[in-house]
């Protein structure tokens, strides 16, 4: 637990921060840092998780009630696969999310479908399945909180979160 629940706390705390100053952290999910001290590093360092998040792109978006990967999404995932192959010391958790238009249970399952779509694609691009885990948050963790399509579009996402390796 310890690791991920701390991670969740961290996400929560940062998101709370975003609340007090709406633009400061805009559109940047927290990069989860390894408990062992693996730093996010400088985004200018191509081997850092920060680079993965900002330059490669850590997320893909989906259309309403769908888990199909768009061409843009595949392009992003191709980059992710390359990065993961270049940095074998890292593992990743793929988080699937849904927007709030749906029942809780269905959205959990839908988020799982999205995360799984990303998982399968990365594996098909040569990333070892053993380095990847999937989790669905359904509609429990939106990053955008308005009740409009502008927010929903960003919430229907799968985020590849880099973690410190298989030890975790």
């Amino acid at each position: 637990m310890r690791y991920t629940s701390r991670a969740i706390l961290l996400v929560a705390a940062v998101a709370l921060g975003a609340c007090t100053n709406a633009n400061r952290f805009d559109d940047k999910d927290a990069v989860v840092l390894g408990g062992a001290g693996a730093g996010a590093g400088d985004a200018s360092n191509p081997a850092s998780p920060a680079y993965f998040q900002q330059a490669v792109g850590d997320r893909v978006l989906f259309t309403v009630d769908q888990s199909r990967l768009s061409e843009e999404a595949k392009a992003v995932l191709d980059g992710q696969a390359r990065w993961l192959q270049d940095n074998p010391e890292y593992a990743a958790i793929i988080e699937g999310h849904a927007d709030e238009q749906g029942t809780r249970e269905y959205n959990l399952a839908l988020g799982a479908r999205r995360a799984n779509a990303v998982h399968e694609y990365l594996v098909s691009r040569g990333v070892a399945g053993s380095r990847l885990e999937v989790v669905s948050y359904g509609k429990e963790r939106p990053i955008e909180i308005c009740s409009d399509e502008s927010c929903y579009a960003k919430n229907r996402r799968a985020v590849t979160v880099i973690s410190a390796g298989l030890s975790g």
Partner: protein
């Protein structure tokens, strides 16, 4: 943005959050207990509450206020006085199910003393119900009905009483009631005979299509009731006669063409019967009945006084259909309340025909009131 900022920011926010939420992360919630509640028998009750050999004199002088003292004497005998209600105590062991047994016997108990009580109240009841009306469900918005309900008005007596009658023709999907008389509006206005749920009333967005898919084919009923004039009855003598002859009629044909020579006076006109029916309807409140009771038709007998008031003790269950046991009793009680409450100031019935309505059997059929 550097990792250090994130970490530091997160740490600070975490700390602030901790303070704000009152250490919410820390608490391991404490186990809690639910108080036990036991149903107790009269013996147990007596044991709990009856003072033991202790001299009774002692507590009484000690009681501070005089009104308390007057209270206590009647309370002392409670141990005894309570004995009757205690009879039921097989349930003592099962607190969860109090009061299962439908005690028909209890319902039949005549209450002779009550006849007196009601008379002073006569003027009070109707206005009371009028003021109560707005309190009831505001959900069913009485909307102005596009069509005017054909109102059977008793032709012979165009006096005040009949006007009060509110009766609407029911078309299957016509939601709202039509108050017949704006100025005479009484309780029924606020009440609904149909349920308009939030889902249905939300104007534009709510899908109206899936409402009550195939609830009730009520239309024929309404049609059947529509012709109410004496003249109209002649249109159907064959059927009426047929039913009579076959003995299957549950209502004697109101044979208007036959001025009876019986001492009872002429039969009630259709208008008079309708007036009575509508008067009882206004008090037949099925709003507090279980779904099972709402599926139960009961036939209730009542004897009437010459003043048009029902003899409370005479209200009795004659038959029922559709429900069983408890549901029948609950349906009967609602019917009884209707008869008594609306009759407490006397029904408007022609006194010269008293023999015709001295005994009445009313069938309360909730089919149209059901929501299923």
């Amino acid at each position: 943005m550097h990792a250090g900022h994130y970490i530091s920011g997160a740490g600070h926010l975490g700390l602030i959050g901790w303070l704000l939420w009152g250490g919410g992360f820390a608490p391991t919630p404490e186990p809690f207990e639910v108080s036990e509640v036991a149903v107790i028998s009269s013996e147990e009750y007596a044991a709990l509450t009856t003072p033991e050999p202790v001299p009774q004199a002692a507590p009484q002088p000690a009681a501070p206020s005089p009104p308390e003292d007057t209270d206590t004497p009647p309370e002392r005998p409670t141990a005894d006085a309570d004995a009757p209600p205690a009879r039921d105590d097989p349930e003592a062991a099962q607190p969860g199910t109090p009061d299962r047994a439908p005690d028909v016997s209890g319902l039949q108990r005549p209450a002779p003393a009550e006849a007196d009580d009601s008379s002073p109240q006569r003027p009070a009841a109707p206005p009371e119900s009028a003021t109560l009306a707005p309190d009831t469900s505001d959900r069913p918005t009485p909307r102005p009905a596009p069509r005017v309900a054909p109102q059977p008005v008793a032709p012979p007596e165009p006096d005040a009483r009949v006007d009060e009658v509110r009766q609407e023709e029911r078309t299957p999907d016509e939601g709202a009631d039509t108050p017949a008389e704006p100025q005479e509006a009484t309780a029924p206005e606020a009440a609904a005979t149909e349920i308009v749920t939030e889902a249905e009333e939300a104007s534009a967005a709510a899908p109206r299509t899936s409402l009550r898919p195939r609830a009730r084919p009520a239309a024929p009923q309404a049609v059947a009731e529509a012709p109410q004039d004496d003249a109209a009855d002649e249109a159907d003598p064959i059927r009426a006669a047929l039913e009579e002859a076959l003995g299957g009629a549950d209502e004697p044909a109101p044979s208007a063409a036959q001025p009876s020579d019986a001492p009872a006076g002429p039969p009630l006109s259709q208008g008079e019967r309708d007036a009575l029916r509508v008067a009882v309807q206004n008090c037949w409140n099925v709003g507090s009945l279980s779904s099972a009771a709402l599926a139960t038709t009961v036939v209730v007998g009542v004897s009437m006084g010459r003043d048009g008031r029902p003899d409370v003790g005479s209200v009795r269950l004659i038959g029922s259909e559709g429900g069983s046991g408890e549901a029948v009793n609950r349906a009967f009680e609602a019917a009884r309340r209707a008869i008594i409450v609306c009759g407490s100031s006397g029904y408007d019935l022609p006194e010269d025909k008293y023999e015709r309505w001295r005994d009445i059997e009313m069938t309360f059929n909730p089919e149209k009131m059901r929501i299923k």
